[in-house]
């Protein structure tokens, strides 16, 4: 076990946990874990999904009660367990990933409701609420119209509202659970700036993120958990992304550029001058058989809109799409599917898969005609079709009838890919296929992508993480403000060069 060496933030710890054990129905979620947070430090908690990060946060905030023998030392007092009320009263705040906000209520109400709740007289003082909200936002250097309902704002602003709410109490220790998961790079930069301001004012920040680049950028120390056990505490200085990945997964990954020439292959997709004002302009590109074309760029660059146009769900104003040399006009995505286009949505939870329904039903939904027998759906055909794909893509499932929501992100994504492969596509558009997929499972997804390309499928790989397209695509297109502004060959360009262009 490694020991922390960084002590630049000085002083003794604000929070110190020792001997934390937590068991759910026989499964040990936390095994003898310790953790420490100092005032003014940004401490990152890293680990794959299910490693115990969230459980640990819930122990500290009093949601869960750890097994006997736990020692929670916080701000000079020792507890055997926390309660949510004590945690709040003593300045422990959490900003959950789902934010726990009220979309229908105004920004002011979202920020200040807790502060004005329970005061006497029992009347709502809207002016006070507004003042509290404006002050809290000003501390973060943000101005928003606090009268507007929250749902009018994008996810990045909602994130800031959640942070503002956490800060109106006297917060000493703030947990941020994946705060940047749905933010663009510039929004992320802004958020990281806010985190720095926060820690500079003496607040201890515990930061949970899947994006290792920002983990390295923001934190001073990193605590790594794996399978509910502590791997170690490391100073961020001198750490690399690949080293953290190794620590998190216990495996080593070798990333290499997979690009190879495909110029001799026939063209599957040709797009000329495709335009939809305000979303994408004058897009021209070709994708050949067996070729993987990567599209990167910031969120809002028009990547998803372009993909939806290729999938028949948005109508371009001008320009042409040809599949295998034949010009096509899609009235709906049904036409596109018939023409051999498949689109894996970036939003797996609400658009990509039907979460409450069975794994099997999610897999066959786009290719129902294949399981028809005499005009009726055949349970047997469905079962064998599903079994074949499950085996082919190495999906780990319990029963086919289980809800898809019971699977991990990586396994869900494999089912989503299988669903589209079952339609016998010629072109597969993968829109951010690793969103919400564990670092360890991402490599598995890209192995599948490489295999599909090898078998002749034309693939468009969209991602806002430049390394993903750099290592896995044959060509990288950079989209910004609806246009393709750069084309790179990973065999010649350096990763840093593309990153500099995209994040500029």
């Amino acid at each position: 076990m490694h020991q922390a060496t960084s002590a630049t933030v000085g002083e003794k710890p604000l929070l110190s946990l020792r001997n934390i054990n937590m068991t759910f129905g026989g499964v040990k979620a936390l095994k003898n874990v310790s953790f420490e947070g100092r005032p003014g430090e940004v401490h990152c908690l890293a680990g794959e999904n299910g490693c115990g990060k969230s459980t640990l946060i819930k122990v500290i905030t009093g949601v869960y009660r750890p097994a006997d023998g736990a020692v929670i030392e916080y701000d000079g007092e020792i507890y055997s367990h926390m309660s949510p009320v004590t945690a709040q009263d003593r300045g422990i705040q959490v900003i959950w990933q789902d934010l726990a906000l009220f979309p229908e209520m105004s920004v002011a109400e979202n920020i200040a409701f807790h502060e004005v709740l329970g005061r006497r007289p029992r009347l709502v003082d809207y002016n006070r609420m507004r003042r509290i909200a404006i002050d809290a936002l000003a501390r973060l250097g943000v101005t928003l119209d606090v009268e507007l309902p929250l749902k009018e704002y994008a996810i990045a602003q909602r994130q800031i509202v959640a942070i503002a709410r956490a800060l109106i109490g006297e917060a000493k220790l703030v947990f941020m659970d994946e705060p940047t998961a749905s933010l663009t790079q510039s929004e992320t930069d802004h958020l990281l700036e806010i985190v720095r301001t926060l820690s500079a004012s003496g607040v201890a920040v515990v930061f949970v993120s899947h994006r290792l680049a920002e983990v390295l950028e923001i934190s001073s120390r990193i605590t790594v958990l794996r399978d509910g056990a502590l791997v170690g505490v490391y100073p961020a200085a001198g750490m690399t992304q690949s080293r953290i990945t190794e620590l998190m997964t216990g495996k080593t990954f070798d990333q290499h550029v997979r690009a190879r020439p495909r110029d001799d292959q026939p063209v599957v997709l040709e797009v000329r001058g495709l335009t939809r004002p305000g979303q994408f302009e004058d897009i021209s590109l070709t994708v050949r058989r067996g070729e993987t074309v990567g599209i990167t760029g910031l969120l809002g660059a028009g990547r998803t809109e372009l993909a939806l146009a290729l999938f028949g769900m948005l109508k371009p104003a001008s320009g042409a799409i040809s599949i295998e040399g034949k010009e096509v006009r899609f009235g709906s995505n049904r036409d596109a599917i018939k023409a051999g286009v498949a689109y894996l949505s970036e939003d797996r939870l609400s658009l990509g898969l039907i979460q409450p329904q069975a794994i099997a039903d999610n897999l066959v939904i786009a290719s129902l005609r294949k399981i028809l027998s005499g005009g009726l759906l055949s349970e047997d055909r469905k079962r064998s079709l599903v079994s074949r794909w499950i085996a082919d893509l190495g999906v780990r499932i319990g029963r086919q009838a289980d809800a898809i929501s019971t699977l991990s992100g990586g396994n869900q994504q494999r089912v989503a890919i299988a669903k589209w492969l079952a339609t016998d596509p010629k072109l597969l558009i993968l829109d951010c296929p690793t969103v919400g997929v564990d670092v360890g499972a991402r490599a598995g997804i890209f192995d599948i992508v490489a295999r599909l390309a090898e078998s002749g499928l034309a693939i468009i790989l969209i991602s806002d993480e430049v390394p993903e397209v750099y290592f896995n695509a044959d060509r990288v297109l950079h989209m910004a403000q609806g246009r393709i502004v750069g084309t790179y060959d990973p065999r010649q360009a350096r990763l840093e060069e593309i990153e500099a262009a995209v994040y500029a």
Partner: protein, 332 residues
């Protein structure tokens, strides 16, 4: 033991537990309370009463599975009944021939379908809430019916219609035969057809279904159309049973059909639910009212007991889910 239970459960679906238990409980309680309960007479009366509520419940089931509702079912049924009555009256009244009656029925089915098509189109294209759309249709049909009938009864039909409402074939009441045929039809529709598959998927997540290349608008229009057709079948059976039509017939059934669906394990938000458990739930409701009748309880009390039963089932389901969670926790 557990494996047998497991197999029965997978064969019948998890929705079967509630109505199945309720069925056993009702048969046991009334079997003990009243010696006449387990007799041919009880089952005869159930067999005649079941189809009306049952057919309307089937009409309600499809929209609920898509996450919607059809509040116009009873009025659609009666408008369809009125259509038959109108065709008969215009063509000889009591002396009308069987051909006229069949033509009337076909027209009635079309009227039912039309009511469904309109609702389906509005719901699918404007994304207006099904409650509002079907409520509007319900008010329209009621007003139309009251206007056409001046609020009264229409009666005086040919004698051959009696057996459709009261007759039996091989000891099985004709309305029950119609109902069971419809149950089987719905069972196949939901379990084995593309439309059925899409109905469940839409009920869980319309947008994700659309992204998967399903024509969700077409599916929604078809669902409401079939719901309207089923209403028309119910309307024809009601016409034959009462030997009259009134626009308000069976109005009190409306919300009971919703509750029968829930008693049958249908998810109130759509996406889950099967026909057979709903059928058993309907049988339970009818047995309950027949049983109460036998032990001399007031007719109105039966309705109250239905309400209590449904609340009880909801609570039991909650308890069962708690127990299941604790078993899973201990087990793993």
């Amino acid at each position: 033991m557990i494996s047998i239970l497991e197999r029965v459960k997978t064969a019948l679906g998890p929705e079967m537990a509630g109505p199945g238990l309720a069925f056993v409980a009702v048969v046991l309680v009334f079997g003990i309370a009243s010696p006449q309960f387990l007799s041919a007479a009880t089952f005869g009366s159930v067999a005649f009463q079941l189809p009306e509520l049952g057919l309307l419940t089937l009409a309600m089931l499809l929209p609920i599975l898509t996450g919607g509702l059809n509040l116009a079912i009873t009025f659609t049924a009666n408008i369809a009944g009125l259509t038959v009555a109108w065709v008969l009256r215009e063509n000889g009244g009591v002396d009308a021939g069987i051909g006229i009656f069949i033509a009337g029925c076909l027209l009635a089915l079309m009227v039912g379908a039309a009511s469904g098509v309109v609702m389906g189109l509005v719901i699918a294209f404007t994304r207006a809430h099904p409650i509002l759309v079907s409520l509007s249709m319900m008010i329209f049909l009621r007003g139309l019916g009251e206007f056409l009938t001046r609020g009264g009864d229409i009666s005086g039909f040919p004698a051959f219609m009696g057996p459709i409402g009261h007759g039996s074939i091989a000891g099985i009441p004709v309305p029950l035969i119609v109902f069971i045929a419809c149950v089987l039809g719905w069972h196949v529709l939901l379990g084995r057809t593309k439309l059925g598959f899409n109905t469940y998927m839409i009920g869980s997540n319309l947008e994700a279904t659309r992204y998967s290349g399903i024509n969700t608008r077409k599916a929604i229009v078809l669902v409401y159309t079939l719901s309207g057709v089923m209403c028309a079948i119910a309307g024809i059976i009601m016409l034959a049973r009462f030997n009259s039509v009134r626009i308000g017939h069976g109005e009190s059934y409306l919300l009971i059909t919703v509750l029968a669906c829930f008693l049958g394990g249908v998810n109130p938000f759509g996406g889950f639910g099967r026909v057979i458990p709903v059928f058993v739930a309907l049988v339970v409701l009818q047995l309950l009212s027949s049983g109460l009748n036998l032990i001399g309880a007031n007719q109105h009390l039966a309705t109250a007991v239905w309400g209590i039963l449904l609340v009880g089932v909801m609570i039991l389901r909650w308890v069962a889910s708690r127990i299941k969670i604790s078993i899973v926790r201990r087990g793993s």
